[in-house]
């Protein structure tokens, strides 16, 4: 007779006492719905992250929705010009809560190379106009970096990677990473 404790840990049923928020966090974290939305060259890397080679779908975030009403993650992938800023905010406001924002690339983080004295056209980063949850640096970031950004967002929603019971993999400890 096989006792429960003889099962390897990944086969044990994920039964755990949790607050409703924690359960919802796990559910939300493993079913993120990014919006189809790119405003500059970083969005090319975002598309690569969603396509077959990097396959964002493995982490439950691969279906880019064509409408803000159906999305809960906004990836700000690119430079925000002052002309574009009201549109970005409108899109964010159209998303149903709970919603999260990933600032992808240096332009979305801080304005990037466009920040200098006397510039008049570019917004100095997403956080000037929106609350940002995860920053993904790079110019542009590799698709792996965006995927790591998504994992960070999942960790934020589940308050750490260990409590994400539905995740189908475990990250190697930092010391073992290449």
């Amino acid at each position: 007779m096989v006792t429960r404790s003889a099962l390897p840990p990944e086969l044990r049923p994920p039964v755990q006492m949790a607050l409703l928020d924690d359960i919802l966090g796990i559910v939300r974290a493993n079913s993120l719905w990014p919006m189809t939305f790119g405003i500059a060259c970083c969005s090319i890397e975002m598309m690569a992250a969603g396509a077959s080679r990097f396959d964002l779908d493995r982490f439950g975030a691969g279906v880019f929705r064509p409408s803000p009403r159906q999305s809960d993650v906004m990836i700000v992938a690119g430079t925000i010009s002052k002309k574009m800023a009201p549109t970005v905010v409108t899109l964010y406001e159209q998303m149903p809560a709970p919603k999260w924002v990933i600032a992808m690339g240096n332009c979305a983080i801080s304005g990037g190379p466009f920040v200098y004295d006397n510039q008049y056209a570019i917004v100095n980063g997403t956080d000037v106009i929106l609350p940002v949850d995860v920053y993904v640096p790079g110019c542009p970031p590799r698709p792996e970096a965006l995927i790591q950004g998504f994992l960070e967002l999942q960790d934020k929603l589940t308050r750490g990677g260990k409590t994400n019971l539905l995740r189908r993999f475990r990250r190697r400890p930092r010391a073992e990473r290449p």
């Binding site: 010009s81 002052k82 009201p86 466009f114 920040v115 510039q119 008049y120 917004v123 100095n124 000037v128």
Partner: protein, 160 residues
């Protein structure tokens, strides 16, 4: 016979050979330069449209009191052909719009208006195109001095 050899005598006869100058394409990118008065701009555009030339782009150079408007017309030909038309406008005077004749001029003229403040008479919709609608400056003019009110932290999220 190339298109350049065809069109050169026509332009010289109608707009004056003293206004026409040959250019070295390998050096500056165009074959002919035509200095034109603004009153004859529409006439020239109609002629070039009939000759299946297309409007490549419009830009301007701030020369102090005068704004030099530069129109580039091209033609997909072998050898290729490109004409630069230079219209000197005193600042604050409207130039006839080509937008009703050549649709491509619509956004080009809006951009020149946006960057240089040049008005185009008869343009169907002369609004800002690259800068926000509430911008009160024309950044490519030489006397434009950006200040803190233009910085990246100051964003107007109101839409018109």
């Amino acid at each position: 016979m190339s298109f350049l050899e065809d069109i050169r005598p026509v332009l010289a006869q109608r707009f004056g050979s003293e206004n026409l100058s040959d250019q070295e394409r390998a050096r500056c990118g165009y074959d002919l330069r035509l200095a034109l008065d603004q009153e004859r701009l529409l006439e020239l555009a109609g002629l070039l449209k009939e000759a299946v030339c297309y409007l490549e782009y419009i830009t301007a150079v701030d020369q102090g009191q005068v704004l030099d408007l530069l129109y580039f017309f091209g033609r997909h030909d072998q050898p290729p052909f490109r004409l630069q038309v230079r219209v000197a406008m005193p600042k604050g005077v409207a130039v006839p719009s080509l937008a009703n004749l050549i649709r491509a001029a619509d956004w080009q003229e809006r951009e020149v208006y946006d960057m240089f403040g040049q008005r185009f008479a008869g343009h169907p919709d002369l609004r800002r195109i690259l800068l926000p609608d509430d911008a009160d400056f024309h950044p490519l003019l030489r006397d434009f001095k950006p200040g803190p009110q233009h910085g990246g932290e100051v964003v107007n999220l109101e839409r018109k």
